[in-house]
Subunit: 354 residues, 2 copies
């Protein structure tokens, strides 16, 4: 840190993203990207004509994209906000709905960024441990009248919380915002989007990074009551109004409109997830029941990061978190079936060497 | 505002960007975009192969882009940070270098976003009026030991502050950060970049939106001592680590490497600016001496927004700010020579009708 840094910035606890190595080609199963290229319609949409308009600012309202998302989810465009990745929108939501006297609550094994944003805005955080089986018990949140943030399916674990449980939270205090981070919902999870028509205290955040094959396009969206979205816009226009670039707007709209490709890709991931889970279990792993495009798995044969290190040596990257409770687990992205077979072969070899 | 909004978000004073109308085609001279398309090398760089990799996250360090910028400005890559437009980087800089006990000072007629970010982070702002001739007197800032932000050439006015004056500020207090927002420096202005090797308290922020013809790509960059850049990274990784998308990274690198096209475009703008200034003066306008890709001009014939309204009726957009001291001025982007001729013809017609 320089001698110029503000106290507030000095206190930050920056997030560590998954490795994005450039030294060699890995089988990348560490950041939950899709193994499939974007929809052919995306490739077509980012046309020569669009490129030639890059000298002009993008539409700060992202109209074309917002309308495509609204149509897909049967909402009004004013119920949709697009962002530079769902991270940006979650950050905006922390500012919009938390502050002095308005704390934020979230589970302890979940997306690691929630505590970072709380620190960024100086928001008091109520961090609630998951149950022993890595599930969320919403009763733990009933008496908390600050804002609640839940990743569903949960980040890191892939475990799903039934939306009926989230509905209980929404009902219990209609003056409390519940933010549901549905980054991983499209792989067999149940979305809270149908609840939006009944609860004006629900904000759903989704991303194009996983199920829409556009991690490199940096696109996320928030869905909610138009008043909540207006609050988020208030933050956005106080931070960075032109937050989405021209090419991502057209790419995102095209991706959203290609329902068939989306269905095909997400179905393939689910099929491969079933195979991977079964195979890892046969190899002695404990695999949490996942509704996401990854599995969270542990094996007595590979404690404390051992599998992460061994696989990396052999050109395969998975994610390991050196944190209490999950130190023996590995978060393994569901890639193509070929990639998963390659990983399984490597694990078999490692087990054979023991 | 919803009943859920935090006090902090409720107090925000969002920025109003220039109009981006979609109802009809205007001659857009209101948001300082380049009238020229991006470099042909940019169009080539955003290739089919790059599009097919959009399923993978972008490099959070923006290595390819950062290196291209570092080469161009003869700096080390660790002295460069890329952002989702220079707005994002300026916002990061406000967080990194201002806070409790560390105020921010900036001129009163300048980029309107400075006061918005100060409010966003709850930073005390010392707003210093420009002199009567719309110049900055650095002596007004000598006794202010908070962070100083100066747009140079100044936003809205286009007036340049000699870098020797900025150097006086840098010298006067080596423990104070001076942020120089050089969004408009490439149109004949003098950059502070050569001062970077001598002052570790200098941060220069530039953009691809004007002189690099990439407003729609959302790209900016900060240049400074590697410790200052590390502080900014601390903020970035606490907000949105993957802040630049894949296509903008390759587009930006290609734009930065096409020096010949950059020189050609910026020279053309300067030539057209000379013509526009002279012509407007002949029509009775007062035109501030501009080193930017716009002119700030007033005419007794068109007080109080009259020219803005009349031109808009006729399909030409310029920017008017309904604010004290500048209510009779119009900020007119330097477009192509054809666009400027069209605007001048329209003004002549309007004058003829009087």
């Amino acid at each position: 840190m320089s001698r110029f840094i503000s106290c507030e910035a000095g206190r930050l606890e920056p997030y560590t993203p998954g490795e994005q190595p450039v030294d060699m080609q890995y089988v990348k199963l560490n950041t939950n990207e899709s193994p499939f290229p974007p929809s052919p319609k995306v490739v077509k949409a980012v046309s020569q004509a669009e490129l030639l308009k890059l000298n002009l600012y993008s539409d700060p309202t992202c109209g074309q994209l917002t309308r495509a998302i609204a149509r897909r989810y049967e909402l009004k465009p004013e119920q949709v906000l697009a962002g530079n990745g769902s991270d940006e929108l979650l950050s905006f939501a922390f500012r919009a709905f938390c502050g002095k006297g308005k704390s934020v609550a979230f589970p302890d094994v979940s997306y690691g960024f929630y505590k970072v944003w709380a620190a960024f805005y100086g928001i008091e955080a109520n961090v609630v441990p998951l149950k022993a089986d890595f599930t969320i018990d919403v009763d733990d949140y009933m008496d908390d009248h600050g804002t609640i943030v839940l990743a569903n399916p949960n980040a890191l674990t892939g475990v799903e919380l039934p939306t009926a449980q989230i509905q209980r939270l929404l009902e219990a205090d209609r003056d409390r915002v519940v933010i549901v981070d549905e980054a991983y919902v499209d792989f067999g999870g149940e979305s809270c989007v149908p609840l939006l028509c009944r609860y004006d205290n629900l904000l759903v955040v989704q991303t194009f990074s996983k199920s829409r094959n556009l991690a490199g396009g940096r696109l996320g969206f928030a869905l909610g009551d138009s008043d909540l979205i207006a609050d988020l816009n208030r933050v956005k226009y106080s931070f960075n109004p032109y937050n989405v670039n021209r090419l991502s707007i057209v790419a995102g709209a095209a991706a959203m409109e290609d329902e068939a490709y989306f269905q095909k890709c997400t179905a393939a991931i689910q099929k491969t997830r079933t195979w991977t889970t079964k195979t890892l279990e046969e190899l002695g792993f404990t695999v949490l029941p996942s509704r996401a495009n990854f599995v969270f798995a542990a094996s007595k044969s590979f404690p404390n990061g051992e599998l992460y290190r061994k696989l990396k040596e052999n050109g395969i990257l998975v994610r390991w978190f050196d944190e209490d409770r999950i130190r023996d687990f590995y978060r393994i992205t569901i890639g193509s079936s070929e990639q998963m077979e390659q990983m399984v072969e490597e694990i078999k070899k490692l087990l054979g060497e023991m």
